[in-house]
Symmetry: C2
DNA sequence: TTATTTTTTTAGCCTTATCTAATTTCGTAA
DNA sequence: TTACGAAATTAGATAAGGCTAAAAAAATAA
């Protein structure tokens, strides 16, 4: 099954929205995610339904099929491999890579991706800590917990971020909270849920509950 | 001036066709080069004319403008840099890179190209020996001569090929005539113009005039 | 259960890039 | 200088992707 660039983007959005534990994904949600109008989404859902990458019942939202999941994971794999390339080889900052990867992920060449994967030494996670699916769509994901849910004295490593907006990533960079940083919860304020964190055994950092809830930690 | 992918491809074709010393490029020539129909070309020429990247007088063919030349050279720069990347970093064979580079050249990110250029160490020629324009569209091209026009005992380096079809490139690979190979004309057959060539001071090679005319040599 | 609001879809139009078929223009040969 | 063939352009379709406005269906409230 070959998809156009637009179809790939819709499918990826549907995959991500499905991931959030919902039974079915609504037209409006997809429109919001894709920054288009619901009318355009309806049209595209009909097309994706015909191609059997989603199950589409009018007025009742969509489910992604196994076939669709596989295709979405291929696109995600390409996106994340390119992000690794941009950061590790071309010295992009991790908050600058998303837009470009969004274009690069649509290049059609299985050989290119195979070679890129090998060249990057078969990375398992992208610069934001998200897992890179393998050729078959399998993902090795580590169990992760939101930083705001950790208890005092627990420690771990920053594994990923939930909000990967440029603004948030820049903030994290500024305070030295990179992916892989070792952290320990020194204190939690009952009142507002804000936290005091020790980063890499040297810097302490105050963080609102809001910020902490967007940071995923691999506990240790 | 921002061009769509299709417009970029047309402009590149017009640039290449202009390069062959013609005063103006015809609709039919462009259609042949782009593998589309003349009717599609007429339409596109109107659009490119409106964007002032070509000068278009109906029924009289087109001239590329300075603005158009600059844009075409930017696209060519991107194409050739990606080719270098694919061959040098991802171990593609030089006859496998064209299609993929054709897609990669349309990625829109000046920063990406700057970084890629630096990462590749500012290469001046692509794997086929064609010069890579700089950011401003300047090309350092070396004077080159067709191999079939060289005299007995003259020597030089293979600098580029005129026909870069996969079949021809594979043939060259097989006989060990890579870009940069040092060659010397040992003999020329008057009758059919075929040549006997010494490659890298060790291998001798017989070559028809036809093949030789597709190889460009930097004389020394 | 009916009425209202929200969500989704349909209908109809736009743009880009392509095509075929018909028409127009050019250049040249008679 | 006219007539003809080649080259180029226009006209009218199609397909993808997006839009607005209107209609229909579903969900919610009274």
């Amino acid at each position: 099954m070959i998809l156009t660039t637009a179809e790939e983007n819709y499918l990826k959005a549907i995959y991500h929205l499905s991931d959030e534990g919902k039974k079915s994904v609504s037209t409006n949600d997809i429109a919001a995610e894709m920054k288009t109008k619901p009318a355009s989404v309806s049209d595209m859902l009909r097309k994706l339904g015909e191609k059997s990458v989603i199950e589409y019942r009018k007025y009742y939202g969509v489910h992604i099929t196994e076939e669709g999941k596989k295709l979405a994971l291929q696109t995600i794999r390409k996106h994340r491999l390119w992000e690794v390339f941009l950061v590790e080889k071309l010295n992009f900052a991790w908050d600058e890579v998303h837009e470009v990867a969004e274009e690069l992920e649509h290049i059609q060449s299985p050989l290119l991706i195979q070679r890129l994967d090998a060249y990057l030494n078969f990375p398992k996670f992208d610069p934001h800590g998200d897992p890179i699916p393998d050729e078959y769509g399998d993902v090795r994901s580590r169990p992760r917990i939101q930083l705001n849910e950790m208890e005092i004295d627990q420690s771990g490593q920053i594994a990923a971020v939930k909000d990967s907006s440029a603004a948030f990533l820049r903030y994290l960079d500024k305070v030295g909270a990179y992916i892989g940083a070792r952290i320990k919860v020194l204190d939690k304020v009952e009142f507002d849920g804000s936290l005091e964190i020790l980063v890499d055994q040297k810097k302490t950092l105050f963080m609102s509950k809001d910020v902490a809830s967007n940071i995923l930690v691999l506990q240790s």
